[in-house]
């Protein structure tokens, strides 16, 4: 496995003068500042030399007169951040989508929110902001003023190509466009998919994100570091523990805080409980989408003890608020570990039953086998993460490759399946639940004593850090940059569903319309994780003005 040192020395050897400066603060993290325009050379070099390389995300930061673009490239374990700076008056840079097709959505996001134009991008459109957002207004720039939203004029009669779900155009040709969403019973969160359908076969799909965009990255700059933990937790209800672990780790990395050993074990336990409940949720929902309601009710019934366990440990069933900068907020009371073990062992027996159902039930197999195939080569090119990648045979798991919390001391297996279809992706999750139960039992047996929290100053020193965790849906990456005050300069979150949604097109092309729910649910899309950027949720002219004044009313009161 490569280390960051090796990657940086390779870049230095081959590209010599183009490297301006570099840093390797941790064994698996490196930050390399390249001369403007030479990022492609660095990235293609890393691609050909190290296998399992992919782009995790692209962060844009407003540095005043320049915009800095960080390309976070993962080489299995380490993350090499290639930095490149462009002037603000003319923010243009070459695209990397020909080297890595998976970067398409990330470049669109930076274009949408910071105004950087990626030359050569096949489809540079808005990603998260609404279609009627005023032109030239880039929310993540430091000089952006929300007043501009009040002043811009909106003509509700001027509708762009947004259609209200259900319209079928092109009735004369054999290919029809059917729009699904943003309101649709099959979707648990709003998103719009435009399917091009020929008869009963899907020819193409175009997802439109951004319906639950809330402005979390910008809001995070207005709260202090320890308050941001609560904000970050609310990016997604289901994988909230993963977000807090990731963010806390990033800030601890910046301040060089040593998290106590007991805290790391406790973090692991709650993190794994979170994973179990998320996977059970998805298995139940998959049952519902397949029309198998008893399965849904049984799985969610067996999820209840997990939520009760989380409640006993952290004080709430879903939003745990357990982690903070410097450790965890509560300790395990005596007598709790035995209760947890009992619940986990009971759940393990139940999981045998569910594994049997998913493996042997004929109707489930009819609906999910050979449905939604994602070949391993496409999976690598599109840089997918999590159970979607593991269901196509790619063995990537951050808990093993880039160990964090207590995972370097706990033995466990990484579950992969070679079948590449929806069934494989569901089975990966079934077996991961069993693995998580084993991890929790091991952690409870080996948890060390000592403090569970260290005090951390409000101000963090200047610096930046990249932190990755294995959220239930895949690789979650946070990038935090501090300028020496108590408030972060930039917080960037890339959640796993954004990485996986780009594979939806590959998966669904050539399948039947009736397979859409089964394929979509195996991706485990969590759109509240996916869109989390600027302030106001824009629907149409009038409603959105109401939202803004309503927020102002709230501001005045408090």
């Amino acid at each position: 496995m490569t280390t960051a040192e090796e990657a940086v020395s390779l870049l230095k050897n081959k590209l010599g003068s183009k490297v301006i400066e570099f840093e390797t603060p941790k064994p698996r993290r490196a930050y390399v500042l390249m001369k403007s325009g030479y990022h492609r050379d660095a990235i293609s070099l890393l691609l050909e030399k190290f296998d399992e390389t992919g782009v995790s995300t692209i962060t844009g930061t407003d540095l005043g007169s320049e915009i800095e673009l960080n390309y976070h490239i993962r080489c299995r374990g380490p993350v090499i951040t290639i930095k490149n700076r462009v002037p603000k008056e003319k923010p243009e840079i070459m695209t990397i989508t020909d080297l890595m097709p998976g970067a398409a959505l990330y470049e669109r996001e930076v274009f949408d929110l910071l105004g950087v134009v990626f030359q050569g991008h096949p489809d540079l459109k808005r990603l998260v902001l609404s279609d009627d957002w005023p032109e030239g207004s880039y929310p993540l720039r430091k000089d952006w003023d929300p007043q501009i939203l009040e002043e811009s004029v909106h003509n509700p009669n001027e509708r762009s190509s947004i259609v209200n779900g259900g319209e079928i155009e092109g009735a004369t040709s054999s290919v029809v466009t059917v729009v699904m969403g943003p309101q649709h019973p099959a979707l648990h969160e709003p998103e719009r998919f435009s399917f091009k359908i020929d008869g009963e076969v899907v020819v193409d799909v175009e997802p439109r994100l951004g319906y639950v965009h809330r402005g979390i990255e910008k809001a995070a700059e207005r709260l202090m570091f320890f308050q941001d933990v609560y904000l970050v937790e609310r990016i997604c209800g289901i994988c909230n523990a993963a977000h807090t672990v990731c963010f806390s780790q990033a800030v601890e990395s910046i301040g060089n805080t040593e998290t106590p050993s007991r805290a790391r074990y406790l973090r692991t336990i709650v993190h794994e409980l979170n994973r179990i409940h998320s996977h059970l949720l998805l298995l139940g929902v998959a049952g519902l989408e397949l029309g198998y309601e008893p399965l849904f009710q049984y799985v969610w019934r067996d999820r209840e003890p997990v939520l009760d366990t989380i409640e006993v440990i952290t004080g709430n069933r879903i939003l745990t608020a357990f982690n903070t900068i410097g450790g965890v907020r509560r300790d395990l009371k005596p007598g709790i570990p035995e209760k947890i073990k009992r619940t986990m062992n009971r759940l393990k027996k139940k999981m045998k039953f569910y594994k049997n159902v998913f493996e042997e039930d004929p109707t489930v197999r009819l609906r999910t086998k050979e449905v939604g195939i994602l070949k391993p080569s496409s999976a690598k090119k599109l840089c997918v993460v999590g159970p979607v990648a593991r269901g196509s045979g790619i063995s990537m798991d951050i808990r093993r490759d880039d160990a964090y919390a207590a995972y370097d001391e706990i033995p466990f297996n990484v579950v992969t399946y070679k079948d590449c279809d929806s069934w494989a992706r569901l089975m990966v999750r079934v077996e991961e639940i069993v693995e998580s139960i084993d991890i929790i039992n091991y952690a409870l047996d080996h948890i060390p004593g000592g403090p569970y929290r260290v005090k951390v100053p409000r101000r963090q020193p200047e610096g930046e850090a990249v932190s990755r965790v294995e959220a239930p849906r895949g690789e979650l990456i946070h990038y935090v940059k501090s300028d020496g005050s108590a408030y972060p300069y930039r917080v960037k979150v890339r959640s796993p569903t954004l990485a996986n949604i780009i594979s939806f097109r590959e998966i669904i092309r050539g399948s039947y319309v009736a397979d859409i729910p089964a394929a979509l649910i195996s991706l485990d899309p969590c759109f509240s994780c996916t869109d989390r950027m600027t302030f106001v949720d824009v629907n149409n002219g009038r409603k959105w003005h109401w939202n803004l004044s309503d927020i102002k009313r709230l501001k005045k009161r408090s």
Partner: protein, 330 residues
């Protein structure tokens, strides 16, 4: 001709219209309770004792909602189709002996089995029309799926219905019912089970749930309906379930005829009828719960490649066994 009060009471109250309505609502409650218990949860429990008033509460709620007709829908068909569906289903019930006699006494005739099967098809067709007249793409897709599934599985249904007719030598439902000294389910169990499965497809229950699959096409053919019209469609669906179960009861379980322990035979016949229909509904729910939903192409393939040939085989088997079973038939 003197107008008979007795006649009107029979047609309108018992065992006529009011009884049918109340019985359908009761069967709706029973279905929901059974399904809930199979899923390890409570089911309706809050409205009325044990939740018995839940279906009535649902209908009252529907009646208080606004009745919207989409601008592009064909008004006449959109308004009339739900009412037509209910009327046809209720009318079909008039040929099923509930308390030993048909609702209109002495109205049964040779061939009313065929009439019942035809009426069921036409009534389902009006449900399709209700979806088609909505001019909403989701309703259109739902309606065509209903038709594909229904018409496909109608043929095996008719073939299975011929079995008891053949065994009892008559095409009159009342005669088929009276001839069952031993219920036909004991004589030809294969036809019974297959008919129950085909009935799942006719009624649109799991695993043939496609027309009602809300996760794919919103609400299928009922998407555009609200208020009173939706109440009619829901009642039509409920009565359809009871009608299907009642048909299976008279063809295979001996209809309302059972031991009369004391008192009036009409009361006991109604009692046995209710018990048998509930048993069939329980079976329908159970078969529906153990399977996921099949795709539309899998449903169609299952029909033409499996159900059709098997139905003909079952009929052939019944015909072959008839000489052996002859003495057991009353």
């Amino acid at each position: 001709m003197p107008i008979d009060l007795f006649f009107f009471l029979r047609v309108l109250v018992f065992p006529g219209f009011v009884f049918l309505l109340a019985f359908s609502l009761f069967c709706d409650w029973f279905e929901r309770k059974v399904r809930a218990r199979m899923q390890n949860r409570m089911g309706p429990s809050y409205t009325g004792p044990m939740g018995l008033l839940q279906p009535i509460a649902d209908y009252i709620k529907l009646l208080t909602k606004e009745d919207i007709i989409p601008a592009q829908a064909t008004r006449l068909l959109f308004t009339v189709a739900p009412v037509l569906a209910v009327s046809l289903f209720v009318f079909t019930f008039y040929y099923i002996p509930i308390d030993g006699l048909n609702i209109i006494p002495n109205s049964s005739f040779e061939g009313d089995l065929i009439l019942v099967l035809v009426l069921i098809t036409i009534a389902e067709f009006t449900m399709f029309l209700s979806g088609w007249s909505s001019t909403n793409p989701y309703s259109g897709i739902g309606a065509t799926r209903v038709l594909t599934q229904f018409l496909g599985y109608d043929i095996p249904l008719i073939v299975f219905a011929i079995g008891p007719a053949f065994l009892s030598g008559s095409l009159s439902i009342s005669t088929i019912a009276t001839k069952q000294t031993l219920p036909f389910v004991a004589l030809t169990p294969w036809t019974f089970i297959l008919m129950v499965i085909t009935l799942q497809a006719e009624l649109g229950k799991d695993p043939f749930d496609i027309p009602h699959a809300e996760t794919e096409i919103v609400a299928g053919y009922t998407t555009e309906f609200s208020g009173r019209k939706l109440a009619f469609i829901e009642i039509a669906k409920d009565i359809q379930v009871v009608l299907g179960a009642a048909l299976v009861t008279v063809l295979f379980l001996g209809g309302p005829y059972g031991p009369v322990l004391f008192g009036s035979s009409a009361v006991w016949y109604t009692f046995w009828f209710i018990v048998k229909v509930l048993a069939v509904i329980f079976l329908l729910e159970y078969v529906g719960s153990v399977a996921a939903r099949l795709r539309i192409d899998q449903v169609v393939r299952a029909n033409w490649r499996l159900m059709m040939p098997i139905s003909l085989l079952a009929l052939a088997l019944t015909i072959v066994c008839e000489p052996l079973l002859g003495p057991l038939i009353g």
